[in-house]
Symmetry: C3
Subunit: 415 residues, 3 copies
């Protein structure tokens, strides 16, 4: 069974030990605090952000929890394989738990792209494969290219987005070309989603500074904080300006307000002025809003990329922006991190590697998920919790053909 | 009036002083952080976990707050009576606030067993009596038996569960033998409950490590984290496997995913391998799911134990598992805590004392709550906020006989 | 555009630098933790507290976010102008971010008074003006009068409340004399509001201790914690006692339970007994409940003050109580803070200055907001998200005249 896999691997191949933090006490407390905040972002933030669909809240918050609980175990092992401690043991400490949460974040971002169209077994498989690909790319970026990406604009956000987009492209459903009746929000589902938005927004400074050096912590927090603030104001303004009647759009407020956190990630611990951070945040907000308004519809209709949550606009484009910003910053001012000289070339290699591996890995994963053995949900039952959950009476759709999903979407059939 | 009781006691019998932490600065910061997390678990975690009932959300989150606010004051006094500072003063510091929150948790667990069937006055009385009984048992476990129970699997979780089960047995309502129409969830009430589940799940490592020694902190956090992760994955798998159509059940995801945090509590700061912690979490998940599916219906129909939230499966059985695990661990490897040799016998005594005092105290409390003077709510008005709350129009039940609860369930009549 | 204003000012007039905390490591960690909690209070606490209206949740949580994101940027600048660092630079550090969040809180409190009756452009203008007035008053209170107000009972809570009351008086709408059909809660909107209440309640100790001296931290936390606990229990008791049928009122539980945090603010770091803190909390609860029940209706009908959320009862009266308590405490026992002798006279001056500047500033702001150029929403469309938001179908009010708000409430028209 799935749950035993990591346990068995742990048991059989490795001897895990408790590694106590060898660094200073204050840094260890800082890490512990950041870990808790990142943990809240993963389970509450990502989980509730996706509850905006009116009939898919159980899956959003529930399968998000399943993916995360599974992913952090597999992520611990993958990180351990690549960053082995002495004696070949996997080190377990607060930092490795942060890294496990980080690697899980990529799978949750991709989950947003395919939300409503994949079943839980497919998602576990995606998580397994994506975390593996993430670990490979992260190794390349940090060890081979020696690039910096403290807030992981590239290695988590752009990676998760393009991986998910490749998967959703391969899993393209012509039957969903016209908007599915369930692919919309309800009044209260939109408010639930704001719980996710706000906890992500609030704890993003902790996300970006979680693995920053101790004396870069405050700087990283400040840059992220002001980038997000600028981004949020720009997003509200643009959301109103782009609407014919001047009204705000919930999907933009829920998502584009966060783009500033994504985009400032790579540069957050570099020597940049807070004003520069605010510029990055503002541009990220603009790109994200424009992406939601103009690009997403085109991707769906012309390129067969059905991106349910618009992760391209929240994580993809702002992630690339973060990478480009780091190329510009390292090109214009010399800086050293962990004793290594940062260069524009290293940063560009990291960005290229990230997008390449994400697209390749996502396409391969999509091909595997498309195999008929996983019990794909029918187009008709997409975006509907009742395909996977016992749902209270009032919400059950009468039109669902229960024979249909009985045969095809049983979770237990696979276990 | 109730509210004045602790204040008066404080004023008249005791001189309270601010006790500043005598321990190291880093430990005091760690304690302060853990305190905040435990506080969130008590008010948000327990409160929202119980909002799953479609017409009982006000009471779940509101009366949870009342019980907790009252309980932490009474808990402070009870802890103070037993762990007096110099000069007979009650010490007030972060640790005593954590302990007050802990003692309150037992009452909130019992609240889950009787949810929907008791009125606020009865709950305040239960809180008063249970915290008193808890303090006695905790004194026995720590001072007399000298057992260890860092995450309180036994002294909080098993205690709260069996206390509540004894109360609900004594308060047995034959009229609720057939499921009450209000005793079910709605789509949004189930999502509200997930807020509770997730905050409990996320901050459980802080709960278990809150009073751990400074150099056991990281170990305790790691063991709890991986136990919960293993438990969550097992719970999802079993939930699907046990359903005829392979569907997940919200009640299992909301509750059984947390059993790993309960069960690993007692052993979390002992020298166990993280793999052992994951095993404990996995077994806890299995026990909890099986309990919800097979045991709870039997308890209700055969043993007259109507356990609304299934606290037996979330806190009772996993709590006992935690105690048994500590017996096995201390039997197989010698270990010392606070200079005291741990033994299987001490742990077994603690487990026995906990269950005995909980059952006895619960039965006595049930007998007191059954007295006709407290204005029991009628069977018909069970599981319905409108018995105690002004409820917005759309939710008012037309069939409620207002004369009925006017006479019997007035909170003010008792004050 | 609005978003560029602070950025431009920053860029053109000032050179901002990253100021690293010069104080001890442990204090800097404490500040960082408190900052996160205050941040949660601002965005989650205030935002969700106001979601109680059945058709105004998007605006409550969304425009709360806009005001806060804008306000913290403007607050940073205003704080910087008055507390300039060396070389005329604006210091950016954790403490300045806490202060920026604090200054934003005043605008969010005033938002509660005018909720449902102002549009987003008016709210941005109010935020801009109120944060400016706040900075002036705070400068007077701390630098000129040299008063103490660690938890800002006066400078934030009373200030925000009376500022907002003055604004709503000037913006008086005779058309809303009879209760608007939308000015009520729904079952789920009341539960959403409890998310706000609980996070405010839980993190209030961090709010009051955020800028306290390191060795006053524990005392401040303890005083706030017990004041809130006493206040919550009193509020529940009074809520039931004042109702004819003994039922609790959600509006009282959502709001008056917090009054203890407001009222204990000024005295929280002074040498008071925890029992005194509990008395202050209890009195605050009583005042707040009585205010909601008896004063708010009179203010609306006789004094033309339409206070949507009842901020007078949650922030105004308890804020004054906090100021009076500090006058009594400083009059009866000599105490020194930051080397300055505290006196009753200084505290009284601070209270007077706060209320005077708040009323004057609020009246001026109200006069500006009343100018016809801002596109006031019609009485009919008050308390309705669909005036400013794209709202999912099921919630759209058929009776809204879309020509009406097209002309008058367009956000973009102003940008």
């Amino acid at each position: 069974m799935t749950a035993n896999l990591p346990s068995d691997v742990m048991k059989c191949y490795l001897r895990i030990h408790h590694a106590f933090p060898e660094n200073s006490i204050s840094n260890s407390i800082l890490q512990e605090n950041d870990f808790k905040d990142v943990h809240v972002m993963i389970f509450i933030g990502f989980g509730f952000l996706m509850t905006f669909l009116k009939k898919y809240g159980f899956t959003s918050v529930g399968i998000n929890m399943l993916i995360a609980a599974f992913g952090l175990q597999w992520g611990t092992l993958m990180q351990g394989f690549l960053h082995r401690g002495e004696g070949g043991k996997i080190p377990l400490n607060i930092k490795s738990m942060i890294n496990a949460d980080f690697s899980t974040a990529t799978a949750l971002i991709s989950f947003g792209a395919v939300l409503g169209k994949t079943n839980p077994v497919q998602m576990l498989l995606l998580t397994f494969l994506e975390i593996t690909a993430f670990a490979v790319n992260e190794y390349l970026v940090t060890e081979i290219f020696q690039a910096t990406d403290i807030g992981a604009s590239m290695t988590i956000h752009a990676f998760g987005a393009y991986f998910g987009l490749a998967v959703t492209l391969i899993l393209y459903r012509p039957g969903l070309k016209n908007k599915h009746a369930n692919e919309e929000s309800s009044y209260h589902s939109d408010i639930f989603a704001m719980i996710g938005t706000l906890f992500l927004w609030l704890f993003w400074p902790s996300f970006n500074s979680a693995i920053a050096a101790e004396n870069d912590q405050t700087k990283t927090i400040i840059n992220t904080y002001y980038s997000l603030a600028a981004c949020a104001v720009i997003t509200f303004a643009l959301s109103s300006l782009l609407d014919q009647r001047g009204k705000f759009s919930m999907v933009l407020i829920q998502n584009a307000t966060l783009a500033g956190g994504v985009a400032v990630g790579t540069c957050a611990d570099l020597t940049i002025d807070p004003f520069v951070a605010m510029c990055i945040g503002s541009i990220a907000g603009i790109i994200s809003v424009l992406g939601f308004r103009f690009l997403t519809p085109v991707l769906a209709s012309k390129l067969k990329i059905q991106d349910t949550c618009g992760v391209h606009n929240l994580h993809g484009l702002p992630g690339i922006l973060g990478g480009i910003a780091s190329i510009v910053v390292t090109a214009t001012q010399p800086e050293t991190k962990k004793g290594i000289q940062l260069t524009a070339g290293k940063q560009a290699s990291a960005l290229g590697s990230t997008i390449g591996i994400a697209l390749l890995g996502g396409a391969l994963t999509g091909a595997i998920l498309r195999l008929p053995i996983w019990g794909q949900v029918s187009d008709q039952n997409c975006f509907d919790d009742s395909a996977y959950w016992e749902v209270p009476e009032e919400e059950k759709l009468p039109e669902i053909n229960s024979n249909n999903y009985d045969e095809h979407s049983r979770f237990e059939a696979i276990m």
